[in-house]
């Protein structure tokens, strides 16, 4: 509940109100009550009606940057990135700068949900993307962007280039901070060595004071500049009412620094300069490596996200013109040349067309379209030029719908980091309370030691090792897998690998190579003659099934008067005889009693008789069987989920010994299958490669795809396999399990160390330098353990 006048939260137990327009409004204190009553008594209601709670009383001049935000309300510009769901609902994906940790995510979600007209706001901390759903009647996009700016985040419509530039900026920023911290730490450490030895032998007080001064000079930029990200994280956490590791880190850094400065000036006590510099450097290094890994993965996925062409050819009264696709309107008539990508959804005007919709449907064969049939943006026109009447553009297309579906699926994914943060939250709360108690106790017994012992507690038990435990292991596995040609995009693999029980695989392009070959044939006449005839006729076709058949003979027959019946087959004349090659239905037009053999789908026949039948299949990946067997052996159940026909899926499943398989699935059916499995408590991995797989890739507990896969699939997947073999799945699972073990060891060590050092430090039995050393060694041990991941 907020105070009617000052908009601050009303503390519990306060029961004050003012009467405004006939109803009682809560206020936080007698002061606000008095002010509000005065304002209302003097008939100045206008103030409450017109005030803008996000603006201050002095109406600060908005920076130009914020004024420019209004540009994003322009419908033409919005076309590119805002998806119009219904009259009352719009969705946009935004890239948000400065997101450093989970706290930022909570903060943004909470602040946005306060705006009137927001329906949903979900932040993905790893990809730094915000998906926001709002009612355009109540709220403008610029107001959302302004609200974000109000809490210190710059958000822009998601654009791959923008996301990359952000990473570059942030990387440079980190390099500078790291550089400063690294150089300064080396200097301070050198001085510290002098001091350590001095502590043993005799160091003249003047020299010691001088060395302290030197350390102060070097440590200051580290604390004031390099360590800034930690303070920012701590403040964000406070703002979001959470505790994170940045809070004790900041207290320890600033506390130890202030105390050391005080010690240097007054020439009493001890200094901690070397430990705080080292500490900052270690923590920054960890975050920097994490950033690099994320950047590389993201770059790879977004680089080729441009699926649609930039330009379209639109018919005009006197010919045609080339225009940007965002300028296309519903009802426009466009032309698409053979081999070009169709830029917008539409209905076909030409008499016939063959389009490759594999990006969207996963269907490996081109589809025939009749006039009036729907064609989909992102599919490729195979044969002759076609004309299309536009029915949907940009964000309204089916393709955009799939992207949006995938974003939503990404958003509801369990966030591993939140669990870790929660445990850390309790640890940190306990740590802070213990620090306060330690201070009080020591102050009571020996006031002169209280501050130093408390700082020793904070430094020695600083959850430094704890905070490094996960990131270093994660960085380790990311690097190791990268070397093997596997890109990891998040930590989810580590969380889900433990419970993994079902592995769903797409068929075409995943279990198979996506290339067709002849697997079986049944000849009625001698096969050499058949080969000549088949390759001669099939060379006129551009159907993928025809590729292996057209290469059967070195001396193909020379056909004449070849006719292509879309969706059925080819007919041609050779030596004054007519031949047909094509589907069962096509041949039955000549030979009504003919029945094709099991799974033989290409038949050649003359007018008189059927000559041969062929079975053409997609080629199985070489290592598919080995991989499937390995999965079964380890107790993971493989399941095939494919958009291809049930019979073809069945034969493949039998070949691989997979007992559960589902064919003829639409993207939403795949999604529903995985969701159902998850609802019944299964942890499901999905391996796929098509755009049609992208929603299910995003929804699965973990997902893998190939670098040849569609860009969308790559964006949705957690793991991208750069090198071909499917057996990399094994590498991923084994590495993830190993990383999990190492991470657990790190956690256990960090906790055991922190918990056991706590009483010792609290009793004041640890010298300052020992506390710092202990903390650093503990961290080094964690890093060293994680380094084992780099080894094969």
């Amino acid at each position: 509940m907020e105070c009617f006048h000052c908009l601050q939260p009303v503390p519990k137990g306060v029961n004050l109100s003012v009467e405004y327009k006939g109803s009682d409004r809560p206020v936080c204190c007698a002061g606000c009550q008095a002010v509000a009553q005065t304002i209302i008594q003097h008939r100045l209601h206008a103030y409450y009606e017109h005030r803008d709670p996000t603006q201050l009383q002095e109406s600060p001049v908005l920076p130009d940057e914020l004024n420019d935000l209004a540009l994003y309300d322009h419908p033409d510009l919005q076309k590119d990135f805002v998806r119009h769901e219904s009259d009352d609902t719009e969705i946009a994906t935004l890239t948000v700068e400065n997101i450093t940790c989970g706290a930022c995510g909570w903060l943004i979600e909470r602040e946005l949900m306060r705006l009137k007209g927001i329906q949903k706001a979900v932040v993905n901390v790893t990809s730094r993307r915000l998906q926001v759903t709002w009612s355009p009647g109540e709220l403008k996009l610029s107001e959302i962007l302004r609200a974000l700016a109000g809490i210190g985040y710059k958000a822009l419509p998601f654009q791959p280039n923008e996301a990359e530039q952000q990473y570059t900026r942030q990387r440079k920023n980190y390099i500078r901070r790291l550089g400063v911290a690294g150089i300064a730490t080396m200097q301070v450490m050198m001085v510290a060595f002098g001091l350590y030895f001095g502590a043993v032998s005799d160091l003249s007080p003047d020299l010691q004071r001088f060395l302290w001064g030197v350390s102060l000079v070097f440590a200051t930029p580290v604390i004031l500049y390099s360590a800034q990200p930690f303070y920012a994280g701590a403040l964000r956490a406070l703002q979001a009412s959470r505790l994170n590791m940045d809070i004790p880190v900041s207290i320890a850094l600033l506390g130890a620094y202030s105390a050391s400065v005080y010690a240097t000036i007054t020439n009493t006590g001890e200094v901690y300069f070397e430990s705080i510099s080292m500490f900052t450097f270690f923590l920054l290094t960890g975050r920097f490596l994490e950033l690099l890994a994320k950047e590389r993965a993201l770059k790879f996925a977004t680089n080729r996200l441009t699926l649609l062409p930039k330009l379209a050819t639109r018919e005009t009264e006197n010919g045609s013109e080339s225009i940007a696709i965002r300028q296309l309107n519903v009802g426009d008539i466009i032309r698409v040349k053979a081999g070009e990508t169709i830029p917008a959804d539409g209905s076909l005007l030409s008499s016939q067309a063959q389009v490759d919709e594999s990006l969207l449907t996963g269907e490996s064969l081109p589809r025939s379209k009749k006039p009036g049939d729907a064609v989909i943006a992102g599919s490729i026109n195979q044969h002759s030029p076609i004309r299309i009447e536009v029915t949907a553009t940009a964000q309204q297309t089916v393709l955009a719908g799939i992207v949006s579906m995938q974003d939503s699926a990404l958003a509801v994914k369990p966030k591993a980091q939140q669990v870790i943060d929660k445990i850390a939250g309790y640890f940190i709360a306990a740590l802070l309370i213990i620090a306060v108690i330690t201070y009080f106790c020591w102050w009571w017994i020996q006031p002169e030691h209280a501050l130093w012992v408390t700082l020793a507690v904070l430094v020695a038990t600083c959850p430094c090792a704890l905070s490094l435990a996960a990131p270093t292991a994660l960085t380790g596995i990311i690097h190791r897998l990268n070397r093997d040609g596997i890109l990891l995009k998040g930590a989810d693999v580590l969380e889900s690998v433990k419970e993994l029980d079902k592995v769903c695989l797409d068929k075409t392009g995943t279990l198979t190579e996506g290339k067709f070959r002849l697997v079986e044939r049944d000849d009625v006449i001698d096969s050499e003659t058949v080969n000549d005839l088949v390759s001669g006729l099939e060379s006129f076709s551009e159907h993928p099934l025809s590729v292996p058949l057209s290469q059967l003979s070195e001396s193909p027959a020379q056909f004449q008067n070849v006719e292509n019946e879309i969706g059925l087959g080819l007919q041609g004349e050779f030596n004054d005889r007519q031949y047909r090659v094509g589907s069962e239905t096509y041949i039955q037009q000549w030979h009504p009693e003919f029945k094709a053999l099991n799974k033989h789908q290409v038949i050649i026949a003359s007018r008189e008789r059927v000559l041969a039948q062929f079975r053409v299949e997609d080629q199985l990946r070489e290592d598919a069987l080995v991989t499937i067997n390995w999965l079964k052996e380890k107790g993971y159940q493989p399941i095939i989920l494919s958009g291809d026909s049930q019979s073809r899926v069945e034969s493949l499943a039998q070949e691989l010994g997979i007992s559960e398989y589902h064919g003829a699935l639409k993207p939403e059916q795949k999604l529903a299958f995985v969701t159902e499995q998850q609802d019944t408590g299964n942890t499901v991995w999905m391996i796929g490669d098509g755009i049609n797989d992208s929603p299910v890739l995003a929804k699965a507990n973990l997902s893998m795809t190939f670098s040849q896969a569609s860009d969308l699939a790559q964006t949705a997947a957690d793991v991208v396999l750069l090198s071909e073999p499917l057996s990399q799945v094994k590498t991923v699972i084994e590495s993830a399990l190993k990383t999990r073990r190492i991470m657990q060891q790190n956690f256990v060590w960090a906790l055991v160390y922190n918990v056991s050092i706590l009483p010792v430090a609290a009793m004041g039995m640890i010298a300052p330098w020992a506390a710092a050393l202990g903390m650093s060694l503990s961290s080094l041990l964690v890093i060293g353990n994680s380094l084992r991941l780099y080894r094969k």
Binding site: K12, G31, T54, Q57, F440
Partner: protein, 222 residues
Amino acid sequence: MNPITQSADLITALLMGLAGAGHCLMMCGGIASAMGINTRPHHVWLYNLGRVSSYMLIGALVGGAIGLFAPEGGYTTVVLRWLAVLFLLLLGLYFTGWFAGLVYLEKAARPVWNKIQPLAAKLRNKPNGFAAFLAGTLWGWLPCGMVYSALSWAALSGSAGNGALTMAAFGLGTLPAMIAAGHFSQFLHRFLQAQGVRTAMGILLIIYALWSMLTLIKPFFQ
């Protein structure tokens, strides 16, 4: 009083002001907007200057009165310190939202304000700097638990000058969002307004209050 204790007290007053800065800003901003005295940025400054002047005046009165009339040393200081610590604790509890006892004190002070209120309201829509300053001095007498908590520390200072100084430190603490300009102040304001930040500030005040209590109890055990 020794200088370290005194500067610690000033910092306490500053912290108290800082913890309430978000509240002060909207509160006074509201008054300034509604009363039409925010036409120029520097009027807002003058308004706030007026407000802090009033705090200093009250601080001087309280500090001076204690210095003049209360018996030197002995129990006076102890009682005042306990009072100050109690107020600090109450303020901390108020900010964390755990206990709102301070509000009763504010209610008790309403009659004083009712006398001043008509005067303050008269200064509406006067577009000159002096009027803005004057309005600030009058609105500075609003019943406010934070001011009373800070006053208990001014009372401790033992003289009119130090009392004024304590209240100046408190007033300074209430200003940060004003000092920062434009966009940044909007960000700062949102930050100070967040319940998490208020809770953290409150806990800090409570810890400080508990520690102060220990300092008061300790002599009896030695």
